[in-house]
């Protein structure tokens, strides 16, 4: 029987990992991921999991050790934030190209500099093209649910790719919320036993992992990765449906809110989408045709489904908690503009919350009001916009 508990995001994800009981976990501290590691290390110390910890000396080694463990046929995890992810950068690509189903909670935090420990999405956007599946959560419940589903997605034989389970630093990681948690046995059954196709420890069937591929083979390796990522689209959907039957909470690639008849729409990812939902409710009460599209799967990006879902909007604003320097609009904005190519829809980029700056419902209402004006007079104005910034 599922039960309601009150936990921080870090504790909820740490508890999900306990229920999954992976073979190996490489851990290294970085704020705000650290408490997740604390929680899990306590489970190890108390014998509540069989997991063997590798207390590495850096995040580069965390990902390297996780790669070694995964290649040796162990269900393997690590977790990080911000600079830690940046330090793993080289290894992120290698994990994906070796097709190792590593699961990594990523507690999103701004990248230096200036050094800053609070939430934004600049860390995860840097791994956009590393070949990882990337999913976002709005709250503690989703962070927990995504963690449980992540193993099934990554380990699926048609996928075999690592997955980053993102949730916002402090806003989710350190905020106590009520969530519904599955029984240990339910999680164990849902996730299942890990059965890798190859293992370095199968010495009767030796494999060479990580050879050099020159121009005659490298391209085909990349093409296979593309195929794995494409396959993840349907796998994520299937597992989201299956998880819904188990938990009552089904998941897809994105979630819409009052979108069907909406003329003015905001698109975004992460915890701010909860704030945006409040603003939508407030404006709907005043008769405004506003709605939301909350992205869960950022890679693979559900382009076709989003194109269909947003096709009837007149003005769309995209919330980005990260910057792409030298290009107007943030990274999610670029994807949405690409998806909507050829459609006569006004598009505006809204950068917000960098370095953990708070965002409030009234600010999002102001954004909707601005977009409504655009819909009325047909003049989109500046593409580049910032919320809550001193200029």
């Amino acid at each position: 029987m599922a039960k309601n508990v009150s936990l921080t995001g870090n504790d909820a994800v740490g508890t999900a990992l306990k229920q999954i009981n992976p073979d190996v976990a490489a851990v290294f501290p970085i704020t705000p991921q650290t408490e997740l590691m604390h929680k899990f290390a306590a489970f190890v110390a108390n014998g509540e999991v069989d997991t063997h910890l590798i207390t590495v000396e850096s995040e580069h080694s965390a990902m390297s050790a996780t790669i070694g463990a995964a290649a040796a046929g162990a269900r393997s995890i690590t977790a990080t934030s911000s600079a830690g992810l940046a330090y793993m950068w080289e290894m992120l690509y290698i994990a994906a190209s070796l097709r190792l189903p590593i699961v990594m909670p990523l507690v999103n935090r701004a990248l230096s500099g200036p050094i800053n420990i609070h939430c934004d999405h600049s860390d995860v956007m840097g791994m956009r093209d590393a070949g990882w599946i990337i999913i976002f959560a709005e709250n503690t419940q989703e962070a927990y649910d995504n963690t449980v589903q992540a193993f099934r997605i990554a380990e699926h034989k048609n996928v075999l790719l690592p997955i980053a389970v993102c949730f916002d630093g402090f806003i989710i990681s350190h905020t106590q919320e009520i969530l519904q948690m599955l029984d240990d046995a339910e999680v164990k059954k849902f996730v299942g036993e890990y059965q890798p196709a190859y293992s370095l420890l199968d010495t009767d069937h030796p494999v060479t992992v990580g050879p050099l591929a020159l121009p005659d083979y490298y391209f085909e390796c990349k093409r296979q990765q593309i195929e794995g990522m494409k396959n993840a689209m349907s796998v994520i959907e299937e597992i989201g449906v299956e998880y819904g039957k188990l938990s009552g909470r089904a998941y897809g690639h994105f979630e819409t809110y009052k979108l069907e008849d909406a003329e003015t729409v905001l698109v975004g990812a992460g915890s701010t989408m909860g704030t945006a939902r409040m603003a939508v409710d407030s404006l709907r009460a005043k008769g405004k045709k506003v709605g939301l599209l909350k992205i869960r799967t950022f890679r693979p990006f559900p382009a076709d489904a989003i194109r269909k879902a947003l096709g009837n909007a007149k003005t769309i604003g995209v919330l980005d908690r990260a910057v792409s320097f030298g290009m107007e609009g943030g990274p999610i904005f670029s994807e949405i503009r690409s998806v909507l190519f050829g459609k006569k829809i006004n598009l505006k980029s809204y950068i917000y919350g960098l370095g953990g700056r708070d965002i409030f419902p009234h600010q999002i209402e102001d954004v909707f009001a601005e977009m409504e004006r655009v819909t009325k007079d047909g003049n989109a104005g500046t593409t580049e916009n910032y919320i809550g910034l001193r200029e």
Partner: protein, 312 residues
Amino acid sequence: MALKSLKEYSAQSGLLAGGHRACSGCPAPTAIRMALNAADTKDIVVAFSTGCMEVVTTIYPFTAWKIPYIHSAFENVAATISGVETAYNALKAKGKITRDIKFMAWGGDGGTYDIGLQSLSGALERGHRYLHICYDNEGYMNTGIQRSGSTPKGAETNTSQIGSVQKGKQQQKKDLTAIVIAHHIPYVAQASVHNWKDFMTKVQKGLAVKDGPAFINVLAPCHRGWRVAEDEGFEYARLAVETCTWHMFEVENGKLTINYKPKTKLPVQDYLLKQGRFRHLNDPANAALVAEIQADVDKKWQELLDKESKSL
């Protein structure tokens, strides 16, 4: 485990197949074959740092490895083998693996002295059960001969050239083995490719450690980088030892033993002057540098003798 005869080893097919693409005469593949022969088991996983031997043995779709092998990057072989060894411990505890498996990590001096030092230190400190072997050819040879922390003073490389102002590498060679000894692991050794019995015995000792890491730093000259003939690599390894420029010793649970002491220590000129990378030392104008190198060799050899006499 006793060593077999050289004749018996020569008859073994070996776990590193021929046909790899190492330079003709390169001692590094021989070092690998010696180590695998000494291990004498197929139940062993090898991890490699990016470098010459990684490149030449695994050009897809070919592999020279008849045992499980992993390479992922340049600076992380110690972390990678840490993961493999930990996976083994976890899966063995769960009963998913029953046999005993050994673990070996390899890197060149670039991947061990320099970019891989942090990863190495972490793995040694955590105490993973594995043998780490550095094949030291005193430079970044795979990328086309650049100076590393291991390149000796005065040596020419493409980033420490012989010019009108500078004469080869300006800095001294890093003492990596001393850094490893400072981790107080069960077994540390230096060896040289020219002495197969000594090196293979050390490999066996390293793999026999049951409760922690072992480390061997084996001198493996690169004839391309050292600018010597392709059949001279082993001879220069011997000369390095006979001049006491390189030392063969081991530290077993803290006790240091020098495994070879030349009866007559040869002058460094015998080792240096015919190597192309030191050719400038033949110029009488650079005699002071030769004298400085000799003084440094003498000092470090005496220090090692002193350490041995104090190590009871």
